[in-house]
């Protein structure tokens, strides 16, 4: 951010004011649809609109009944369990593969670096419907249709690019001499990785993993294609909810998801700031 100049002309002030207003408008446009869900989820009535009571801030118009319903509902719990299982497994897989890929991509002897990076990142830019359709046919022919395994693999594919990108960025600031020093002190490749590299790139690995988890946790398209009733995840359950039984329970879940996403973002940001310290050479 640049320092504010001491004297501003009228033109500068107008420009600045306009700039601020434009930013605010974009912000409202992006965020408001998400935030409006939050108060509605506390609606005492089974509606998706603000009741008169809510608008007059009558406490009786608000309630936690939809949250209670969600927690007590077996289907939602089943969906959450599925989301966590698939998310954690896919994250573990994506993190392991992504870190390995990033290590390879940053090695000086890597041939066709740009091409390979492009291929690894491609799940991020390929339309998800195409990936999902492709995986549907592929996994079906392997006999993996409608299994947790197929969803875990699919989500790992979608999450890996995030790990690759964030770890590659951290490795770019990694001093190669540290690895050389460790090797000259008698450390084999595994020890160098485990004791020197991994602790120093940990912030990048963790933030990549958090993104990978968030991708899996929010994902609905591949679940629609690859998952059966037994693989219903939270977003999939919401999808059903919207289509079949319009209930503010969905708003309660949505609020929970927004809060969870904010938590993840906060964690990533905290890691990013902390990462500046130990990962030497980032400056």
């Amino acid at each position: 951010m640049t320092a504010r100049p001491t004297s501003l002309t009228l033109g500068d002030r107008l420009r600045g004011g306009f700039h601020l207003a434009a930013c605010a408008a974009v912000f409202v446009f992006l965020i408001a649809p998400m935030l409006v869900v939050v108060p509605l989820s506390f609606n005492a009535e089974p509606f998706f609109t603000f009741t008169e009571g809510m608008l007059s801030l009558d406490p009786d118009a608000y309630s936690l009944r939809w949250y209670r319903n969600v927690i007590q509902d077996g289907e939602w719990r089943h969906a959450l369990a599925n989301s966590l299982l698939i998310g954690l497994a896919a994250t573990a897989l994506a993190t392991a593969l992504g870190v390995l890929a990033a290590l390879g991509l940053t090695s000086s002897s890597m041939p066709c670096r740009t091409l390979v990076t492009g291929l690894l990142i491609s799940p991020m830019v390929t339309p998800i419907i195409i990936s999902a359709a492709g995986m549907f046919f592929f996994y079906s022919s392997l006999g993996l249709g409608q299994t947790h395994v197929s969803l875990i693999l699919a989500h790992a594919v979608l999450g890996t690019p995030f790990v690759v990108i964030s770890v590659t960025a951290t490795l770019a600031g990694f001093d190669r001499n540290l690895a050389r020093a460790a090797a000259s002190l008698g450390a084999g490749p595994w020890v160098v990785f485990r004791r020197i590299q991994l602790p120093l790139i940990a912030p990048g690995v963790i933030s990549g993993a958090l993104f990978a988890f968030a991708v899996s946790f929010d994902e609905v398209v591949t679940v629609l294609f690859l998952g059966g009733l037994a693989q219903r995840t939270v977003p999939r359950q919401m999808w059903t909810g919207v289509r079949e039984q319009i209930s503010p329970e969905i708003l309660a879940v949505a609020t929970f998801l927004v809060g969870f996403a904010l938590l993840l973002l906060g964690a990533v940001e905290w890691l990013r700031r902390r990462g500046g310290g130990p990962a030497q050479g980032n400056t």
């Binding site: 001499n177 050389r180 090797a183 000259s184 002190l185 008698g186 450390a187 020197i196």
Partner: protein, 367 residues
């Protein structure tokens, strides 16, 4: 094989290195490092000295040739098995470990018991005079202290061979000079062989048992510092080590250990570093402090010239003259009693002895 009593520690045999398959960073390098000496690879940046050191450490593989340590090839030996301590230019201390953990790292890997580790770490810190800093983290130390920790870490598992890549480059001058003596002392006390890389010729002169001067991937000369200064064999060495006045000319007569070269200012008598044929171009090197301003007779080479400029340096005066085709002919005279006699614009008589003038092959045309 003349010196059978000298034990060789490191040998480079016809080593070449290319990163892109075309340009050679190191060309056909032959080098012997003796046990227990402080051997310096000196040269400007890009001359191949650091690449040579990295090949010795095992971080880079030679494109051609072989490197021997204690007489056996290390071509197939990975860095971790070479038993070499390495000190890096940026220290390469592990930032997430304390000083103590940095030092015990190599010991831990080798399975040294915890008590022995603590003892060795304590001793290594004693050697570099950093007792009691075990629990600090590297970023809490000054540059000089980090440097000492890096040296201690390279020494802690008691290697017989230690490589140092411009270890003092990041320090200020005072600290650098202090650390030069310190490294010399440690090397001497422990009796280890040190291969040292620097681009600083004064540092190389002050510290080394022997120096190899690198230029464009080739060794120009290997000698002890005094020989390098007094008897350069290449024009590059003459220009790189200390100051030298270079006069260009053509050899006209050769007899025994002397020769005469014709310069734009007249004939100059010199000592040829190799047999010249009459007509060959030569670069004559004369040290600025060997030029005498006087009416004294009997110098082999005497000229008269106008003083273009006088600089007061402190301990000496530096005069610039236009002499024998060199418009930047420098003469240094010590700041002693009675020096004040020289002024800009004066015409002076000056001269130098034949043995202070070396006739070197002219390298202007050489690649």
């Amino acid at each position: 094989m003349a010196d059978t009593d000298v034990e060789l520690h490191v040998e480079f045999r016809g080593v070449s290195k290319s990163y892109d398959g075309q340009t050679l960073v190191v060309r056909d390098l032959d080098l012997d490092v003796r046990k227990g000496e402080l051997f310096t690879l000196l040269g400007p940046s890009g001359s191949g000295k650091t690449t040579s050191l990295m090949m010795l450490a095992g971080f880079e593989a030679p494109t051609a040739g072989d490197i021997l340590i204690d007489g056996s090839s290390v071509r197939e030996t990975p860095p971790r098995k070479r038993g070499i301590g390495v000190v890096f230019q940026n220290y390469a201390l592990f930032p997430h470990m304390t000083v103590g953990r940095n030092l015990s790292f190599p010991l831990e890997i080798r399975g040294v018991s915890e008590e022995r580790q603590a003892e060795k770490v304590r001793r290594a810190l004693e050697v570099v005079r950093l007792e009691g800093l075990q629990n600090r983290r590297p970023d809490e130390l000054s540059g000089g202290q980090q440097q000492r920790v890096a040296i201690a870490r390279a020494l802690v598992s008691e290697p017989r061979l230690v490589l140092m890549d411009e270890p003092l480059g990041a320090l200020d001058r005072r600290l650098r000079e202090e650390m030069q003596l310190e490294i010399r002392r440690i090397q001497h006390d422990l009796g280890v062989t040190v291969v040292y890389v620097t681009h600083d010729q004064q540092e190389a002169m002050a510290m080394s048992s022997r120096v190899a001067v690198f230029h464009r991937g080739r060794i120009q000369q290997v000698a002890d510092p005094e020989t390098l200064y007094e008897e350069p064999e290449r024009e590059f060495v003459a220009r790189f080590i200390g100051d030298n006045n270079i006069l260009r000319g053509q050899v006209t007569a050769v007899s025994g250990g002397t020769c005469v070269a014709e310069t734009p200012g007249g004939p100059v008598k010199a000592v040829p570093v190799r047999p010249f044929r009459p007509g060959e171009p030569t670069a004559l090197a004369i040290r600025p402090e060997r030029v005498v301003l006087s009416s004294r007779r009997g110098l082999a080479n005497e000229f008269e010239a106008r003083i273009e400029e006088v600089l007061f340096i402190g301990d000496h005066l530096r005069m610039r003259l236009d002499l024998c085709g060199n418009r930047n002919f420098i003469v240094k005279i010590p700041n002693t009693v009675g020096h004040g006699a020289v002024l800009k614009g004066d015409r002076v008589r000056l001269g130098w002895a034949q043995m202070d003038c070396r006739a070197l092959p002219d390298e202007r045309a050489a690649v």
